[in-house]
């Protein structure tokens, strides 16, 4: 979220000519506030982050943890001690949902940022240097887009890290599935950003001021940093927001299939692993985690849509 700072100034300076009375930032905020679904989504996501961060407080309040089992309370309906009831081995559903939310949000944001980094690098190189390098990198990108991604993700997620020489103390630790899924998911999530940055770099490279900078002896690295990147920041911000939602979906799918986040760490995906066997006895257990995924992902998508309207009004397909 901190990435959007430089973008408003740039975009709004250009469109600010027609309405000199408004500061650039206020125009962006005003355009964003007009997108009602995006505003609601932003509020929802803010609340979600706050509640998930406060998950340990809920543990204290309810007097149980996300791993505490209570075999006498299997499938217990909602009660004051367990506001959303208990699961198939008597764990508190609400607390597991909150911890699952932490994991899903963390993985989504971290993977989207990693993917944006890879994508920006590939896109900059391809768009700025052009020629053979461009053709090669873009062919590679197109190739990845066309592949059946999910099977690859499944295989990559299932790889035995010990065979790669990772010490077994690390390979078998609880958190390794967290890092691994961020890396695996971002390995395939960078293509959109790469294409956006390449397009931006291609068009900026031809502008007069870039030629002027070249003539003044600016290095390639400086031109990319000072002239190209700021011009593509707003589409990147939009793409990152949209991809957080998409990557949360991918993470939950992998976790559901049993190769993502591993127990005892809960995630919205792995909370549904047993759901299919339980649909006759406890359908509610299948509803909550999926609903959380759905609401979070749709909120990120609306947020991205709203940011696009606000930051990049000319590129927006909705209000053109």
């Amino acid at each position: 979220m901190t990435m959007q700072d430089p973008a408003p100034t740039l975009e709004a300076e250009q469109s600010g000519i027609t309405q000199p009375a408004q500061t650039p930032l206020r125009m962006v905020v005003r355009r964003f506030l007009r997108h009602r679904a995006a505003v609601v989504s932003a509020v929802f996501l803010l609340l979600l982050v706050l509640i998930c961060v406060a998950a340990p407080l809920f543990e204290v309040w309810l007097g149980t943890t996300f791993v505490d089992q209570d075999l006498f309370g299997r499938y217990a309906p909602p009660s004051p001690g367990h506001p959303l009831g208990q699961d198939e081995i008597g764990r508190d559903v609400l607390i597991r949902l909150l911890y699952g939310g932490r994991v899903s949000l963390l993985v989504g944001v971290a993977a989207a940022l990693c993917a944006a980094l890879i994508g920006s690098l590939v896109g900059l190189l391809a768009g700025f240097y052009g020629g053979r390098l461009d053709a090669l990198l873009m062919r590679f990108t197109d190739g990845i887009i066309a592949l059946p991604i999910l099977p690859f993700l499944i295989i990559l997620s299932a790889i035995d890290l010990k065979k790669l020489g990772v010490p077994s103390a690390i390979a078998l630790s609880d958190e390794v599935s967290l890092y691994r899924i961020v890396i695996v998911v971002s390995l395939f999530g960078w293509t959109t950003v790469a294409r956006l940055v390449r397009g931006g770099a291609l068009s900026v490279r031809q502008r007069e001021y870039v030629r002027a900078a070249l003539a003044l002896g600016a290095s390639n690295a400086r031109i990319m940093r000072v002239h190209v990147l700021p011009n593509v920041v707003s589409p990147i911000v939009v793409a990152v927001t949209l991809s957080i939602g998409h990557l949360i979906l991918v993470e939950s799918t992998l976790s559901y299939l049993g190769v993502g986040i591993q127990l005892p760490l809960p995630s919205w995906g792995n909370m549904l692993v047993n759901a299919q066997d339980l649909i006759y006895s406890a359908p509610a257990l299948a509803i909550y985690p999926g609903l959380m995924i759905f609401l979070t992902v749709i909120a990120f998508n609306f947020l991205g849509d709203g940011l696009q309207d606000a930051l990049d009004p000319r590129a927006g397909s909705r209000r053109s």
Binding site: I145, A146, L147, P148, G245, S252, Q276, I279, I298
Partner: protein, 321 residues
Amino acid sequence: MARFLTERLLQALLVLLVMSFVVYMLIGLMPGDPIDLMIASDPNLTAADAVRLKALYGLDKPVIERYFNWLMAALSGDLGYSRLAAQPTLAVVLPRMGNTAILMACTLLLALGIALPAGIYAARKPYTKLDTLVNFLCFGGISMPSFWLALLLIILFAVTLGWLPASGMAPVGSERFADRLPYLVMPVVTLTLLNAGVLTRHIRAAMMEQLRQDYVRTARAKGVGETAVVWKHALRNGMIPIVTIISHDIGTLFSGAVVTETIFGYLGMGKLIYDSVMGNDFNVALVALLAATAMILLANLIADVAYAALDPRVTFAGRKA
């Protein structure tokens, strides 16, 4: 045309070759080891037997050499045996390809059947209440976790209402295709709902772009009816970007099929890949993944040919393939 096709087919073969190498390497890194599995299933095997078995299957050689041996055998038609099914790999993979092709073709047709009217309507009446509603539904489809949608449909139609079978391919012992249809409904509906949203948004954007063009105004000015303007003039041009989108989405569609097939117990490529990866059935995993990629590349090629048929400006000779 012939040159274009040859070039594209050669390219596809190159992609498959690179993929077979990458996947072979990756699968070697999966947990488990074929010899360990044999030892686990037969307590009478000794350490000496294990060494002999390793030599028999060539597993004592470096991985590059094993890959070339596999490739040579594969090129001569020997794709090995399936560990789980105890059948030749090809006999396991081939029937599954047909099932997935049926699933994906039904999905694509149904999704287009929904997305075309919805997208065109939204493009003709943009920013109205109905356009907003369509847009919301699209966001819903895009944001829906595939496995959760499948679970919800099972809970509603199989558990609560009892209208449709929860999983499987056909009633036990039945060979008639008509008996398979009820089993096809939920996987197809799941995949359709997941994909129709993206399609609708793209169709709406493409049609809005076309309806702004001068030739559309000209057609209206000379008195062409609105239906013909939209469905003949604008759609023909709008289809060009849409076909590209569809061709790009086939990989995504297949990824969706992996999940839905697994949940609904539909015996297609997606479930086969998942089961063989999870069950250490390396021969099948490798061949199935390559076959799935080949299917997707073929679908992309068909889309490219359709692209040229739709846009007379595109010629195969001049196009960078």
